[in-house]
Structure formats: C-alpha cells, structure tokens
Amino acid sequence: ITEVCGAKRVGYFGPAQFYIALKLIAAAQSGFPVRIESIKNELPLPRFMALKNDSEIRYGNPAELHGVKFQVPHATLEKNSYKRTDEGDKQESKSPPMSPICSPPASPSSYQRTPLSYGYGKSRGGLEQQHGAPYEVRHSTHQQDGPSSGNYGAKSTLTCSTLTRSLSAEREPPDSSAHYADDPWRITEEQRDYYVNQFRSLQPDLNSFISGSVAKNFFTKSKLPIPELSHIWELSDVDCDGALTLAEFCAAFHLVVARKNGYQLPETLPETLLPDYLQAASLKPMHDCALFDSYSESLPGSQQTRDFNRTEKTPAEEVPDKSALIQDANKDDKQVLKTSIAIKPIPKEFQHLTVKTVAQESNALKARPRSRSYSSTSIEDAMKKGEEPPTPPPRPQKSHSRASSLDLNKIFQQNAQAVRSGWLPPPPPALPPRPSITQTEQVSEVELHPQMNRPPSQTEENSSTKKEVVLGQPPSKPVRRKFRPETQALENPELSPTINVTSSLPAVKPHLPVQKQSSKQKRAIQTAIRKNKEANAVLARLNSELQQQLKEVHKERIALETQLEQLRPVTVL
C-alpha cells in the first residue's frame, strides 16, 4: 500500500499519499486488490480493528502501519508535556534534529508498539462512538496519544512533520480549539488584546519598540525572580536588540503569565510565541476556523518548517541565521502552498469531518491528564495577584479555555445562545469552533463567517500583516519604519476580534516576491545592524568607564589647584 500510494517514492506521507493509503486499506479490507484503481470504488471506510486489543496490534496490520505513522509524529511531538496539542506546535528544539526522510514503516518498531497500545487502548472508547472517516480514527489517536507519548524520546523525521502537516490540514478547525484548550504557549484572543493594551500603556505606538529599561520595570512588577525574568527576556527578545516589539512583548508577557501559573520556562521560545508567528497570529483566529485547508496548512506548515529550521540550527547560530530562516520559511511557504492546493478539493468533506472529529476530540480531551485540573483554579488567582497592572480581564477565559471539553461544550452552547456572564468578549467567529456535535449548524455557520469576513478585511490586513509577518523576525528597524504608515490601519483591526482574519495565504504569497528582493538587502542590513549593536554595547561600557576616569582626574585636578593656591601666597611674599 505504501508503495502504491506513492509514499515510498516520495519518501513521506503527504496528505495525498495518506488519503490514498487509507482508501487502499479500505479496499484491501473489503477484499479489493490493492491498486490505484481500487480507490475509485465506493469503499466502506477502513476498519481499524486492531485498536480494540493490544495483542491484535502486534500483528502486522495495515491499520497498525497507519497507526504507527501517526503515532510516530506524536511521539516526536509530544516530548514536552506542554505540547499536548497536535498540529501547530511541533518539533520543539528539544527534539533531536530531524533525520532525513524515512518512510514510516522504517521507524523503530519497538516504541511503535508501546505508543500504539497505549494510545489505542485509550482511543477505543472514542472510536466506538464514532463511525466514519478514517480521519476520525486518526484524530482520536492523535489526541489521546498526545499526553501518553510525552516521554518518547523520538527520532523525529521529516515524515512526521509532513504527516502531521497533512493531518493539521484536515483538522485545523477542531485543532485550533484543541490548541487553545491545551497549549499553554499559544496566546488566546483575549490574552492578546490584553497584551496589546498593556503595550499601548507603555508605548503608545504599536509599531515601535519598548525599550529595555521600561520593559524591565514593567516586568519586575510581576514579582518573578530576576534570573527568570532574564531568561524570559532572552527567549522573547528574538532579535536581541534590547527592545521589545509588540510581538516580542506579547511573547514575553505570555511567558511571564505562564510562569506565574506554574509552567516551567522552556529552553527556547515555543513556536507559537515566535514574533512572526504572533504577528500572523494576530489575525490567526479567523484562519483557524477556515475551511480553506490551504490556509490552515500553509501556516502550520510554515510554522513547522520554521521550527524545523530552528531546531536544526544550533542556538549559537540562531541569531545570525535568522535572516536565512525567514527566507527558508518563506520558501517553505511556497512549497507548502503548492501542496496545499492539492488538498483544496476536499474541503467539503472536512466540514463534516471536522465537526465529527471535534466531537471525537471532546471525548479525547476528557482523557487528558494534568494541567487542566489546576489551571482553572490557579490561573485566575495567580494572575490577579501577580500583576499589578490593571486587573487582567482575560484570565477567567484562560481557565475556561483550558478546562475539560465539557466546559467547552457548555461555553459554546451558551455563547451561541446567550452571552455568559463571566465570559468577556463572546467568542467571535474568529475563535475556532469548539467541539460539539449539537453545534454542527452553528459551527458551519461560524465557519462560513470567517470566509465572508476574510475578503473585506483582506485588503486591510494584506498590506499591514504582510509586512509584519515577514519582518517579524529579526526586524531591521529602518525597514520597519518605512512600512509604518501602512500598518496604521492595523491598530483598529487588532482590537475588534471579529475582524481578525488571517489572510495568510494571500498575505504570504504576494509578499514572497517582495521578500526575495529585499532579503539580500535585509541580510546585509541585519549584519550591519548586528555589528553596530555590538559596537554600541561595547562603546557604552567604555563610555561609562571613561566617565569615571574623568571624574577621578577632575578630583586630582582640584586637589592640585588647591595646593597651588596654598603655595602661591608664600612665593609672592
């Protein structure tokens, strides 16, 4: 099957290969010969019988193969207990550098078994409630495997990333809800608004920087120990210029919040907190619930590749390589775009599937352990105590967003019908549709909304976000200022969540040619800037030392003058 669907040839399971493979499984299970033509038949969905029984799994089973495949990405992905969600946050820097493409069956079988049994055992319940698309199966194991495979020191492979990318494409809507539900490193809308307001209180111009000292005072108010603040700064000041842009500030703030809520600080900046991601994400929510898989795929895809690039490069080279990173990421965007176009024909199915899988996911979410339980109680308290700046409005939502799926269901039902008291901005169409089977209509309605909203706001956002998205990573200051007039329109849209649309696809695309042209200049400018900054820092210290010397010399001079005064009358006389 692997060979027939083309995975062996390309070396990984892209979405196309995966779908074909699943179809072939169904064909095989129905007794049809495994050939390309078989997929044209009307086939019942493949049954993954092995899921019910651990022992059955061990038998070479096409289901196992596929199970393996999406186990492996999870194993790699879920190294960090934070990264419980599937799509957006993939390879953290912790995961070892990705080995080159390997076809899934080649992955070591030993740890396949364990994730399989564990994951499948859990998913059994979920599965039984579901009839239907193979995607659901995948999603259920997807979800439940997350927490279980937290300890797998996986060998991440490109396969996995592409695989998850393909999965992400389909499941973007429910996954974004999963993201919001599980990912402590992803900034929700309310949080984002709050951060933006805080930024504004420190620095009225959203497109300019907060200087280091101002930021220092501000973050010191959060009463975290200085070494931790220092680390947070290191993580969030991506371009190491001693100042925070809006995106960097949001990332830093988010890290502070997370730390106050008990999360350990990561070693490197999580993908969802990267400045360029954040700037795209300022409009992200709309795109999350988009049915345009091309959109959804391109962004997580590009994020993955960016992160992929990130993990490949050693921290030492991180900074100088960033410019290269951007270009790589953008090139990857292009490639991802191409693959994503292939997926477009399937959106309709996904509407259905996403809803169902979303329901599946809600069951899956129940199975998830840990942070959820304490998050709801502690977050609100910790935040309110921690921050002297005005009471954080979004806190209550944060706890809810982390709450178990049941809460989510309630939330959305209520929100669909009436605004709940404790819930500030009612989840606009921008928020991903939360899991709920009964919400099918509302969900699809909600999903339609973003589509409609997107065209009008596209034009608005296009110019502004484009520039920000691309320039997010080591921003070269002069270039940024040039684009400022265009980004002024950005301020309003950021406020009203409903208009938050990510036109990531059109945004990235038209920007790519521009990007390539300016990339070389940018690189040159960036290296020049680095050198200048270095020199600046050095000169500043030298300056202070010289000042001290000057003072000392002054003192000596004064001393000498007084001596002279005393001596003079003697000679005169």
Partner: protein, 129 residues
C-alpha cells in the same frame, strides 16, 4: 578586579588546573593590553592571539572594548584548531556576550547565568572536541 563572569571546562576532570591556568594567563592579558597604550582600539586588536603555549596546552586571549576578557585554553594535541577557528570562536563568544548585555535584567558584572550563552558555549566546545 578580574573576577570571572563565566567559567566552564570540558571535560571536567582537571578542572581546577584549567581554572588556575586561566587565572595566571590573566596577567599576560593585562600585560598585552597595557602594552597597546593609546592605540586605537579596533576589532582585530581585540584578539590577542596565543598568549603562551605551556606544557600540553595553549592559551588564547581576547579582550573587548569594555575590558572584558575572554580566555580560552585548548589542548595542544588538538592540532586541527587553526587561528581562524579560534578567532571565530571568540567572535561568537563576543556576540553572545553582547546579547546578554542587551538583556535589561542583566547587571554588568554579574555572573552569567544565561541559558542561551551556556548552550552556545557547549555547542562550541562540542564542536572542537
């Protein structure tokens, strides 16, 4: 005062010996800086080169414009290390040091606890060993 802001050795046996070497080489560094006098400080002059080869290791020095000294002790048996590589290593160190400086929470003169710096140093050392 010449107190260490950051000190690290790989492998960890004989660590004390390396610490001692570094400390004694500080004298040589001071000597070289004072010899420069009022010369215009320039990127090239920051690199002091081989301070002195003793026994089975070599010591390289580098000083920044703010009188922060980097001293590196390497095994003489490691013949693969060329001057250029040493220079690039010092440059990386300097870059990381400026990054640390940019952090408003870092007080100049404190010991360096930055994880990014640690990672950079580790990777460099791994590269050499």
């Amino acid at each position: 005062q010449n107190y260490p802001l950051y000190i690290r050795s790989v492998p960890t046996e004989n660590e004390l010996k390396f610490h001692y070497t570094v400390h004694t080489s500080l004298d040589v560094v001071d000597e070289k800086i004072s010899a420069m006098g009022k010369a215009l400080v320039d990127q090239r002059e920051l690199y002091l080169g081989l301070l002195y080869p003793t026994e089975d290791y070599k010591v390289y020095g580098y000083v920044t414009n703010s009188k922060v000294k980097f001293v590196m002790v390497v095994d003489s048996s490691n013949t693969a290390l060329r001057d250029n590589e040493i220079r690039s290593m010092f440059r990386k160190l300097h870059n990381s040091y400026t990054d640390i400086m940019c952090n408003p929470f870092y007080n100049p003169g404190d010991r360096i606890h930055s994880r990014a710096f640690d990672n950079m140093v580790t990777s460099m050392m791994m590269q050499v060993c």
